[in-house]
Subunit: 378 residues, 2 copies
Amino acid sequence: MNGDEEEARARAGLTAVARPGDLWLAEALSEHGAAQVWSALVRGEPPPGGKGQTPPRWMAWARGAAGVDIDGLLADSAQAGVRFVAPGDPEWPGRLDTLPTGRDCYGLWVRGHGDLRHLCLRSVAIVGARAASPYGEHVARELAYGLAERSFSVVSGGAYGIDGAAHRSALLTGRTVAVLAGGLDVDYPRGHAGLFAQVARNGALVSERPIGRSPRAPDFLIRNRLIAALTPGTVVVEAGRRSGALNTATHANELHRILMAVPGPVTSATSVGCHRLLREGRACCVTGVEDVIEQVVPLGQSTEFTGPVAVHADLAPETARILAVVDEPGVGTAEVAQRSGEGLERVMRSLGMLAAAGLVERCVDGWRLPSRRGRKRA
Amino acid sequence: MNGDEEEARARAGLTAVARPGDLWLAEALSEHGAAQVWSALVRGEPPPGGKGQTPPRWMAWARGAAGVDIDGLLADSAQAGVRFVAPGDPEWPGRLDTLPTGRDCYGLWVRGHGDLRHLCLRSVAIVGARAASPYGEHVARELAYGLAERSFSVVSGGAYGIDGAAHRSALLTGRTVAVLAGGLDVDYPRGHAGLFAQVARNGALVSERPIGRSPRAPDFLIRNRLIAALTPGTVVVEAGRRSGALNTATHANELHRILMAVPGPVTSATSVGCHRLLREGRACCVTGVEDVIEQVVPLGQSTEFTGPVAVHADLAPETARILAVVDEPGVGTAEVAQRSGEGLERVMRSLGMLAAAGLVERCVDGWRLPSRRGRKRA
């Protein structure tokens, strides 16, 4: 087990004992590393804290850590099609590195065939009220369909209403990422179990909480920062006066992401939140997919998708050899190493890079080439 | 005839021969005065131009001036209940003095019992598409009703659609000003003849064109700058992609007035213009009367109407004597002078001030106390 793997395992353990967003833990991790923090907790000792101070909540974490079997957790997760992605992993979405300390993410549980980093590279978040109006759901569908058609992944929260409409519509032409507040085997809300299965086939489900955890109230608010953080821009389609989507909007503002709001009839209670964002100058007004793309694609850059960031011709010979071995779905990393004749370390790095470039995809039992649509583009 | 009266008569004549918005004429007026310009034109001579240059279009104006009988025009106007208000007149709306040279207004024809200056002091313009949707008309009605109820005059363009809805609704609780593109006896559009009669009874009709003139295409665009200029802020309720209301919006921006837009469904063609104004950051988003009042009432100032700007107790003794004489509707200026024992000059100034303060009102045959509602407030 190398150092990175040890760090990742410790972080996986931490997701089971501490909610994200603890400034003490974040500082301890960044100064001493997860492995050292975790081993102290497992021994029932105060972990080394940031700036030489012991995190005040360490005893609760230690009690939790005593009951965590990381190997078992990882094995059960794999059984449920769930993998753990830690900072530095090739699948880790780079945008999360911009989260301020105290809001950072210890690691992500991911379920689905899509490579999360690749899915988030060109993405837009579409969020909104659960109690959406037919108008709002219509607009969410139109936006999600159009964005997916133009190779943007649609990121949302998997809830009823706007979120569900956006995920479903994105699946018709492209990919989608559902960021959930609870464990990825929990299917919350239950009525979206079928949708989540589809998202896993064509995109990814993401959570900061380990399997088996039902989401609780604070989890939704903490989760919202991830929706904002994973994407360059968030569109609020409909939001009532106290909609949770406004919390996501606040995160987008604070994380300096682009915040967009869709206007609606001033007579509609489900547009009140959107109009407030517009009136306060916190969001820009978007009325369709072209407006959204204009906002999220940097000035001077083509709004057309120009294919993955690397193409076969540019690949180093070893990387090309590794890619050539992924010839049927479900090739495991060890098998790729063996058949390509490259070392495991290099194979892992190369597969990560190939995944980020959209040339291979993770699947539950290993690696595969991207679906037809993705391949044609490359 | 004193100098001011001569100036005003010359300006009345000019409205019959030149459209507003001629930079040459504006400069000539400001440097040499209207009387001198007019007498040259009547003699068929080039008028003295601004910066020593002869206005290039002077011959067309001279041809027009030769056919204008100012006395006849004023008499016919009075017959139609129309008076002429020139810059400096007590009824002249002070905001028009902020129009940049070349866009300035030579004078206004006014029809109605309201004092124009007083009507515009606390006012908001509500404009929008002629081909309005039921949604747009509903919002226009709600805004106009609420603003009128809070003692704001509603200024609009008298057209079908949003304008008409705003005027009608304002009349239910308060006052309204219709700024027309043609002569005030023309009733354009014809279907609004009844509405215009009501506006005259409770507010004012305004035009830069003399009686008898049917409005032509450019008149509408020139008129739009007046709607923006007369008010501190303009609300665009609905506007299609090429709606004339967007022209009014541009004037409001250029004149540094507050521009507001009402959002609507993104699926509605009649909200496209409003959304563009919002997206481009040219207008702020307003969803109801409270939002509008928050925008147009300066920070720190009460949004409640605190009555006219002067009250009886503050009046100079002569002014109080003059006010006391306006005891029945239709007292003429000369009669007020005779009965109060004050000079005609002072009576005219005092009545203008009293009108601006909302303590007296013009009516077709002279002066009267304001309607019950107004009096109660004072």
